[in-house]
């Protein structure tokens, strides 16, 4: 009896020692900053880095700002533009890669390529391709579309690049989900004379739906907090900036360019709430279409 308790105590000590670096790090780097950001969103910055509580002032100012509402809409619109098409195309690529074909690894590597190059570099080449006067795309189309400066088009342009960047990553995740589906299901369907299209809708889609759900949630969250791609594609001097500015772009400009850290904190809190709401709806909605029975 005494021995086991000593053993348990030994386990306690090692347990605490081993989680200590991570837990201390999380408290200092994340937990305390989390509460500080909440506090800052209710305060105004004063001289010498001091803060003064100001109640809901930042939030009132934020809700009155057209720029803020535009940024909120831009973030949501960006999701609408990128998530359904992007995930659909990724699923398509995954299904194609799952077929019995030669050069599978080569194809997979090619689609995955944008993942390993920084978004900053990716944005640079796309800006060149989309350039109004000299870009190759307008030359090929024989048009003069202002891809990056027309307020109506600029976010669509960014969405195209975002979809291009994410397809390979999502496809690799979906492919590993598809590969887990038992071959016998397809063999049985073949014997019953089901076509490939029928097999996709009645076997592949339901069986891969848990993975699809994870990809969808992940893509929604990262699209709602999009920043780097738009920052690189649409610089702050671009006349179409307000038509492309996402919430996190606005956050960056308010906190680190304009120095309104209290106001910026309110923006980030709003974004977290928005992501939370969307995620909750996703989890409610999943019951209708995600199939967890194996």
């Amino acid at each position: 009896m005494k021995k086991t308790s000593k053993l348990a105590l030994d386990g306690y000590v090692w347990g605490y020692l081993m989680v200590a670096p991570t837990i201390i790090g999380l408290i200092v780097l994340n937990i305390v900053p989390f509460f500080q950001t909440i506090y800052m969103s209710f305060s105004k910055s004063k001289a010498f880095g001091a803060y003064q509580f100001c109640g809901l002032e930042n939030y009132i100012e934020m809700f009155k700002s057209p720029e803020f509402w535009k940024a909120t809409w831009n973030s949501i619109y960006f999701c609408i533009l990128t998530v359904p098409i992007g995930v659909f195309l990724a699923l398509l690529v995954a299904v194609l890669l799952n077929a019995k074909i030669k050069g599978k690894t080569a194809f997979r590597a090619i689609y995955f390529l944008p993942m390993v190059v920084a978004p900053a570099a990716v944005a640079m080449v796309w800006k060149w391709i989309f350039n109004t006067e000299y870009g190759i795309l307008n030359s090929l189309l024989g048009k003069n579309i202002r891809w990056l400066t027309d307020p109506k088009i600029v976010l669509i342009t960014c969405a195209i690049v975002a979809i291009w960047s994410a397809i390979g990553y999502d496809a690799v995740l979906l492919l590993s989900g598809i590969q887990n589906i038992s071959r016998t299901l397809y063999e049985a369907a073949d014997l019953d004379g089901a076509s490939k299209v029928q097999q996709f809708f009645h076997i592949t889609l339901p069986m891969v739906s848990p993975t699809l759900f994870v990809v969808l949630i992940m893509r929604l969250m990262s699209s709602l907090k999009v920043y780097d791609l738009i920052y690189m594609m649409v610089e702050q001097s671009n006349p179409a900036l307000t038509s492309a500015q996402s919430l996190m772009y606005l956050f960056y400009r308010e906190s680190f360019v304009a120095g309104n850290k209290g106001y910026a904190s309110a923006i980030v809190i709003w974004t977290v709430l928005l992501i939370g709401i969307v995620t909750v709806f996703q989890f409610i909605g999943q019951k209708k279409w995600v199939n967890y029975e194996v």
Binding site: G15, T37, V116, P119, I167, M218
Partner: protein, 277 residues
Amino acid sequence: MKSMKASKNVSTIVTYTALVLGSVTMIFPFLWMLLTSFKTQSEAMAIPPKILPSGWELTNFFTALQSLPFTNLYLNTGLMILFRVICAVVFSSMAGYAFAKLNFPGKNLLFGLVLMQMMLPSQIFIIPQYQMLAKMGATNSIFALVFPGLVSAFGTFFLRQAYMGIPNEIAEAAYLDGCNKWQTFVKVMFPLTGSSMAALAIFTAVFAYADLMWPLICNTDLNMMTLSAGLSTLNGQYTTNFPVLMAGSLLAMIPMLILYLLFQKQFIEGIAMTGGK
């Protein structure tokens, strides 16, 4: 039977056509970047566009190398990735093992902190993190670049799962052989999670390399920037000189591209393993 074979051939052709068309779309931007980086500015802006450059001179690359301190950028990015990977793997292994295999009071509560960090977007921490760094006088340093990645909640979560997959009997056998908890971990359990640690290392490296907001904020001195951040300053410097911009972008992506070509399988499988983050 014959018609079935024919339809199979048709579907194979459709599959290949779709995959090849997709691949062309994926590769074209990189190819165009490469071709443009060798053109003169007037060649790049020629109407109708010229596909191939007239010569293969490296002028644009030299201009890019002069405009940005690339040696520093490579070094800063490399060191940031190295330290973030070491921190993530070492600390997350320890914590992941403890959460998976040891019992101590408050374990679930502490693991709750890990999950909470994973749920929240990193931007919610960024202003206080910056203020902390500024108070320490540590902006414009390698430490600043590593700072938010000193510990990894995701890594802890991920490696906890790896350790949970290892049977308890292995640890018990080591314990009976006279290993204490720490020795059991270091000598027996830790080496068993090799593939998970490699996946975490790749995941950490890829995302650290891509990160833009934090490096832009914490290191404003050009000599202390990462490749991504440095590239964004080039953006304002040469708004219209696309050959130089392409050469600079190419220089920034080459190291990771080479690593990817060498370890393509590990990259993709590592990311697939960590998938869902």
